[in-house]
């Protein structure tokens, strides 16, 4: 799995000053550096000094753009959640109106390198570990939020209805949701035992098992 890192933020060093949109760019720059640090060092070892250094900025700057470390982390999580949601919504928009096609599009989107790469998965995982004890984080973890789950469930129900399956669409939706997250977790931890492609196939084979008449092997 590649460690995809969008280089579209940090490298533009010439316009560090003189822009009006600086504020937003700076925040983004720091957020990306935060993700880097979370991926490299984990949550507990991530310090503001790391983040600032990674962004090529000075130490005090973080407290200027974000008021505290806590708020930087929340903003980072929020950024990731929004990016994730935008990604699957875009994938959905490109799919046909057929529920099976849409479901497949969602699953494929989940393993798109833009979303599913070591760096981001590691950052997600770092937040998961802390989410339990931090209500602020819980709101944005998991990435697959309420809307996503309801969407999954509606699609499963549509397929179940249209295909006369004797399954419980809710259970399938819950399982699919959990399966996707579980595969992410395995991808992140697994030292090469599981490829992104194999993970996607495992997810699709679950769809095939659940809705054999819609997802022919």
């Amino acid at each position: 799995m590649t460690d995809a890192r969008p280089a579209n933020v940090k490298s533009e060093s010439e316009d560090r000053k003189g822009r009006k949109g600086t504020r937003h760019a700076r925040r983004l720059q720091l957020i990306e550096s935060t993700i880097d640090s979370l991926a490299a060092r984990g949550y507990a070892e991530t310090t503001l000094a790391d983040v600032a250094k990674g962004a090529g900025l000075s130490r005090g700057i973080v407290n200027f753009y974000f008021e505290s470390k806590e708020k930087l982390l929340v903003a980072t999580l929020q950024h990731m959640a929004e990016e994730y949601a935008a990604h699957w919504r875009s994938a959905l928009a490109k799919a046909s109106s057929d529920p099976a096609d849409q479901l497949l599009a969602l699953v494929r989107a989940d393993f798109d390198p833009a979303i599913c790469n070591r760096r981001k998965l590691a950052a997600w995982c770092a937040f998961w570990g802390e989410a339990r004890s931090r209500p602020t984080y819980q709101a944005h973890c998991g990435s697959r939020d309420e809307a996503y789950q309801q969407l999954l469930e509606r699609m499963c129900r549509d397929l179940a209805d249209s295909g006369n399956y004797s399954i419980d669409p809710h259970s399938v939706a819950v399982a699919l949701d959990a399966l996707l997250e579980g595969l992410w977790l395995r991808l992140m931890m697994g030292s090469a035992k599981l490829s992104r492609d194999a993970a996607r196939e495992a997810a699709i084979s679950f769809l095939a098992a659940s809705f054999p008449r819609h997802f022919p092997r």
Copy 2:
């Protein structure tokens, strides 16, 4: 979900200064307190002072029984991994020799309150978040280790062979493994949206979808 906490160690406050089963018992006592703290505060906020206080002992005690915080955490993780493995092995031993029965036993064991409760799940998750950047942890995360995965795969193959399914047993095993972990993650994070029973049913419905002739609904 209940916060199961074995009260067999800490509650005996009258012999806190007793010299009996000391070494091993004390270590266990501190490990349990560590799990408490991980569940309550998360990895990053867990301090030795918390652990000691939770065990009703003094600050210096941790470095007496474990040499460092790091070693305490590793021992805690190891303890949890061993407990988990012992649990599913025991469940497996009680099941019949029928692969379907055994698979069901494994899945049920995974959602047994003794193993699957908020406290322990939260502790697991705390370690997951740090495992990426700590090789020492990776060895013991995930709980479902190599042996477990191979067992799943063998059972899936047995069922696939005996049932003439047109599926890839490896993919199913991978998916089942990920599904279980994903359900755990959801259970831990879910603020009551998902019950342990619902999670188990979702897992079983996955088995039913994959091996319909072995797991009748």
Copy 3:
């Protein structure tokens, strides 16, 4: 003996927050405070809190300018060694080209209050006590380093040659070197039994005994 303490660094309290000659000046300020603490409390009882307090700064400052206590102490020792060497080199430069004159200059330099005062001697002694078990210290202890000893030896040889003495110049050099250090030790410990002047005279009387035709009484 006076407790000479150069007041050129710390006393300027009004610009304590100044940014001027910062880095180097602050390091010097902390080093001087370290010497103070070593002299007052000894090596074992010198804490970073003492040093910081003595410098009128906060606790965290030492780890900011020096990375650790160890490095602060090494820097302190190095500073003292360099100061000592600069001092005798300067004294030597001011002397005539006559070996006897030069030798006398070296001895006198050794008991110059700028170098030989309770505060500095105590600091030296503190390091001597730890040098055995710390290789890092050994390099800079003794003050009278390799170069110094070879210089002494060359001078003794010059005098021995020019004066037809029947002595072993190496032995005399070794003895002189040890004598100077021993006198320092006595000065430091001696509760007023030995004055700096008496010590210098004792050293000179050694020269007179060794090279009677060069050092008339």
Copy 4:
């Protein structure tokens, strides 16, 4: 230089119990172990755990035989001072009544391996480093105490009188005393640059220079 360590105390493990003289033996055993630790680790790093372990005894024992760490260290220093004094007194008693002979005996005693070995020198040096800030130590450091110095001075005066030297006997005594201590310091620090024999010869050559008619080369 050898690391002479009298094995007459610790090795008698069979009579650890059942003796009446235990108390004294135990204290000696702990004192010897303290010297070991001071020599190996230095003053600052010497802990009671080290001492106890070195003596093959349990941790709590030190506070039983000595009331505190401080008192153990004082007792150790006292022991060394007494041993040193007994040694030179014995050497003196064996010498003839000739002052020159006595002086030589004292110097030779100072470099006797029983007294002058790495282990003991290192222990002495450890105390020197702390003596300044600890009045309790100062009383016993230096080893060459008041009586010793007065003895040296009287001998120097005797020789000066009987030899018609134009020297100041007091200065010579002071110098000799310092020279001996300085040589010890060099022996302890020097990584083999100076042998015990060379040190003794340097001291004797000083006597020869000061009193040429009494100490022919």
